[in-house]
Symmetry: C3
Subunit: 134 residues, 3 copies
């Protein structure tokens, strides 16, 4: 298994960071196998969706409705409603497995690998890529 990490700046607000090109670059030249994308953070997740057509904003809106950033949460520190960020990984897992063929992710036309980070208190995130050849 080959593995690496990289840092990505998600800034001080809700962010959907498209990781697709970065992952594709690292996988280039490899053969077939499975690639695990993993975010070693308790307040971020990974998802596959279409970017650039409004879904980033829809994701933000959906999460605000599903996990409201208000005072209902027992886990409290940092910004108001931050407890919701700690529940995010329940719904949006920080671990994702992608099939790789000839060094390329076998994604659909409209799929991008996206880091979903609602937590403005952590402006920089780590992403781990692990490739298990088969």
């Amino acid at each position: 298994m080959d593995t690496t990490t990289f840092e990505i700046r998600t800034g001080g607000t809700f962010a959907c960071a498209d990781l697709t090109d970065r992952i594709a670059g690292w996988l280039g030249g490899r053969g077939d196998g499975l690639c695990n994308v993993f975010v070693p953070h308790a307040t971020a997740g990974l998802a596959l969706f279409e970017t650039g057509a409004g879904t980033e904003h829809d994701v933000e809106k959906a999460l605000a409705a599903l996990l409201p950033r208000d005072d209902r949460w027992e886990h409290r520190h940092g910004s108001r409603g931050h407890g919701a960020d700690h529940v995010l990984p329940l719904v949006v897992s920080p671990s994702l497995v992608l099939p790789v063929l000839g060094g390329r992710m076998a994604l659909g036309t409209w799929q991008s690998v996206v880091l979903v980070d609602p937590n403005g208190d952590n402006p920089t995130r780590t992403v781990r890529l692990s490739f298990l050849p088969g």
Copy 2:
């Protein structure tokens, strides 16, 4: 790694398509390893639940409540509320990993592998299976 794709007809309405038998057939005769099930679509996901006892309808109802098909979504094209379909993969991932022992998925008695497809505009879907022996 051995990999294949197949097409499945999900029709013009919300669909829960049970893939279990199809996957079991492809895995038969293999040994131990991990099987990745992957849907290369931006508006479908995969889940493990009990089929045949009403949960398919409950899943449809739950998604209608969690991600309402109304005009709130910025991503708009096709049918009304289709933007909700683009948020589906945030909650229901299109990638699933299953442990395989002696060519059989190590599923629980009541678990079936289900393609969840809320998008009536795409009546046919592709599923990729990848088996990494270990």
Copy 3:
């Protein structure tokens, strides 16, 4: 691939059972690879979140709001609202993949592997661990 199962008592009420130490113990002494954690049950899931600071209760509260335990569900047996437990795996997958380096899970500081079991009718659960070296 090396694989094992163990039983865990989750009791007769909603439970978040921290599996991290148990998994770490089993992985100890291994090298690099991917570990699949899998729950062969139709009414439980796995998540990575911070334990010990209130998020367990927040997870219970969030699930009660997202999937209410009332009479809306078609799948009915056992306790009232049990149909919601059958929808849980749609949102909280019973399969999770973790990167392993030198026999240790590459988790973030605040991440724990948690079995989420809303179903008080099943007081004991099985967990399967599978390690695919790479």
